[in-house]
Amino acid sequence: MTRLLPDSHAARARLLVALLALPALGSAIFFTRFVVNRVLPEPPRPEPTAAALLDVVSGSDVLRAWVLVNAGVDTNAPHPFSNRSLTNDEEVLLTPLMLAAARGDENMVRMLLTYAPGADAAHRRMASCLALSRGDGDLAALILSGAPPDTPCPAGLDTLGQLRQITARLRSGQP
């Protein structure tokens, strides 16, 4: 191995300096790439849709959910949704706020109440009932902003049971 080294001390000194410069060069390339990425226009994002919003809400990704809310996705229209953990792969109709409440995702609920505050009273009440079905009274109160629900939540139903009932009501056009 040592035979590969240059004989003269000066040449070895140059080699060592060059070796030390390599990592610094690597980081300089990284930083340049970072700056270029900042300056270049962003690649077009996928079309913001209600389905995409429900997807990121179910993944608790507050930042991405906000991007979609900010892009103008309608947060008040109920949309079909299903997954294994919450709906047992059964399709239900719900809004992002209802989904966040059904999952007990307080951060998501806070974001939606702040940046998508247009949910009508009926949808908020449904979301509040979903939070209550999980035993989360504080979250339910937050959704209703401290006011008691004007009608009682359905008794004896778990979260999925409530989701089924909400879906049936929405499909039949009831408020």
């Binding site: 060592l16 610094a24 980081s27 930083f31 962003e42 991007v67 951060n107 702040t114």
Partner: protein, 464 residues
């Protein structure tokens, strides 16, 4: 400087430019934190005037230069967004000035010096203290003090009748920004005593005397300060301030000593963080992330290199080397001592700047020593130095990642905390007005623009 030396210096500045530009880009989009900045600005708005801000020595946060600087900008701006933009520009300018000032001091004039400067600069900008001080409050006091520390060191390096008064003034501006400015005054007093060309012993005495008066004045009002102001890290866990008072309040001095040692340890070994040995714990548990190994190993390597050089400098070094060593020890000890109530990474800001100066000298000496080594030893030394350089360069990239993580964290805070704060501070119209004015910057979509690297990279670079 010869043309060749100038070229190496220019090359070094050019090499660090991508980092500086990237850091500036990243800092530009970091939202002000709802948890810190709104409160600071509310405090600023509610102070009745500059005079009151300047003369409240009994307050735990007596920082007249800091409040004065904020106040001048606040009063001079046409709107809150204008004031925030000015704070942001000032913060970024201060942050970028620190590495540039470092390069101006070391002035690499050969290939070997440029390589040593690259390593030393990485130990500065890759350190936990530097990262922690990237936080914009809206101005970061420790970053200002770090810059003043470097300027003072440079001013003291050459003779000139005007340098002493300027050093004196800068030192007290540093103290006026934050108590950690006393670390600068300790260094000034010591290097003046040991013959720094730019500052007389008499000026050194004046700095030491006025600093002692300031400390005494502050301590007169310390009776009302809580025994522990914030959570205290101890071993592998953090103790809430209230618990700490209960457990150690009757005799807090061992915890104060622990906090001081923890601050020094963070500068030298990147461990503990806020008094908690989290990397050590992760290593013991077998759950250490790659970045934790990189941090610990690269810090141990750089500190070992610095210690090797320091031993030589203490024994047979020139006057300047000895003064540098003394200045580093002075700021390290003083920074550590000032963190006696609780320790945070940011307290080591000035110390890491002097640590980096020591590492520069050490790396230069190591390269010179390696030249004369027989091939096998040369290979071993070269391998160690390259690994050290690679580790610290990774940490430099990690600093950028840290800023991006901070941006996301602050952005998320603005998304989920506004509703609660509106309720909590409903009876505080000034707070609400400032929060409303800051909300647009807090939710600016540019904050979470996708970066060039995959998220797994965070495990290698470091996570908040």
């Amino acid at each position: 400087m010869t043309p060749a030396q100038r070229r190496w210096f220019a090359g070094s500045v050019l090499a660090v430019t991508p980092f500086l530009v990237a850091l500036a880009c990243a800092l530009w989009v970091v939202p002000y934190a709802i948890s810190e900045t709104v409160g600071v600005l509310e405090d600023l708005e509610q102070r009745s005037g500059p005079a009151r801000a300047l003369f409240e020595p009994q307050a735990p946060l007596f920082r007249p230069a800091f409040w004065g600087a904020l106040r001048v900008i606040w009063d001079g701006a046409a709107s809150i967004p204008d004031a925030l933009a000015t704070y942001r520009v000032l913060h970024i300018a201060t942050v970028l000035s620190v590495p540039l000032a470092f390069l101006l001091i070391v002035r690499p004039a050969s290939a070997a010096e440029a390589a040593a400067a690259a390593l030393a600069l990485a130990t500065l900008v890759g350190s936990p203290a530097f990262r922690d001080n990237l936080e914009n409050l809206p101005l970061n006091q420790m970053m200002v003090i770090t810059l003043i520390g470097l300027l003072v060191w440079q001013l003291a390096a050459a003779p000139g009748w005007w340098r002493g008064p300027v050093i004196l003034l800068l030192t007290f501006v540093a103290i006026g920004f934050k108590e950690e400015g006393l670390a600068v005054s300790a260094a000034v007093a010591l290097i003046a005593w040991f013959g720094a060309p730019g500052i007389s012993r008499r000026t050194g005495f004046v700095v030491a005397g006025l600093s002692a008066v300031y400390v005494g004045w502050r301590l007169l009002g310390s009776g009302d300060w809580p025994v522990f102001m914030q959570d205290v890290g101890l071993g592998f866990a953090s103790v809430p301030a209230s618990d700490a008072v209960e457990r150690f309040g009757s005799f807090p001095y061992p915890i104060y000593a622990y906090n001081a040692l923890a601050s020094a340890g963070n500068v030298l070994f990147s461990e503990p963080t806020s008094g908690v040995f989290r990397i050590t714990r992760a290593v013991i548990d077998g759950t250490a992330a790659p970045w934790q190994i990189v941090h610990l190993a690269s810090s141990i390597g750089a500190t070992a290199l610095a210690a090797w050089w320091a031993a030589g400098a203490a024994r047979a070094g020139g006057d300047r080397d000895r003064r540098l060593l003394l200045a580093f020890l002075a700021v390290l000890v003083m920074s550590a001592a000032l963190g006696f109530k609780y320790t945070r990474d940011r307290f080591g800001g000035v110390a890491v700047a002097f640590y980096a100066l020591v590492v520069f000298e050490a790396a230069k000496a190591a390269l010179a020593r390696a030249d004369a080594m027989p091939p096998r030893r040369w290979m071993a030394a070269a391998l160690l130095l390259v690994l050290l350089q690679a580790g610290w360069q990774l940490r430099t990239i990690g600093t950028l990642q840290f800023v991006r993580d901070t941006a996301e964290l602050n952005h998320k805070e603005w998304l989920v905390d506004v509703i609660e704060r509106r309720r909590t501070y409903a009876d505080k119209p000034v707070f609400l007005e400032i929060m409303d004015a800051l909300q647009a910057q807090g939710t600016d979509p540019r904050t979470i623009a996708p970066g060039p690297d995959p998220r797994w990279f965070a495990r290698v670079l470091g996570e908040r």
